[in-house]
Amino acid sequence: MNRQMNRKRPFFLNLLVIRLPIGGVVSILHRVSGAALSLLIPVLLYLLWRSLRSPADYAAVAGFFSGGFGWLIGLGLLWALLHHFLAGLRHLGFDFGLGEGRDRARQTAWLSLALAIALTGLIGLSTLSGGGA
């Protein structure tokens, strides 16, 4: 393979046009959730600080997440964490040579995608009826 051939390879990365395989979907969501969590670290530390500062601050943080818009934001954060965690475990498995076959890789891609959504949904439902955990 010479250099000239390499330079003429197509450069086609428009995510709106590419039809990603399921592994690609899980991978890009891993990146998106990781970026979101990274950018929100100062906010998450702020919430930890407030929640530990005083009973009134704790109640304010818990109140924010217990209903309405804050509840949705909490579920979004939870999904991002769960998806990043599960897809990350899957990628760690690849590093150790686990599940690298095409069929198994597709199965674990679907599994991590579905499990993150299902767990988020379950926790969302339980906090909806029980008034927060």
Binding site: R31, G34, L37, S38, P42, L48, F85, D95
Partner: protein, 114 residues
Amino acid sequence: MRHVGGAHRGLDMWLMQRASALYMAGFLVVFLVLLLAAGPMDYETWRGLFAPMYMKVGGLLFVAALLVHAWIGLREIFIDYVHGLVLRLGLYLAFAILYLGCLVWSVDILWSVQ
């Protein structure tokens, strides 16, 4: 002119990303167990979780692992999408400063619980 970076930096970061991921995964599982074992949550119970020294030390290591993991992850994204060298290095530096600040702040937060 000296090269920025070197042949082994990528491998170091690849390893750090996985080492920090493993620590965080372990910590999160332990924390979840402690959280569920603590029973119904209120302010005193929540604060009590952070009272033991092992939680302060383990928690600080978690924050350190998180910040390293986040910085390396953002670096990967910047390499893919930010092509101006000055802007990219500026973003590395900005997030390094922001995250170092977060690390210092987290020491104060964790050790504020007595």
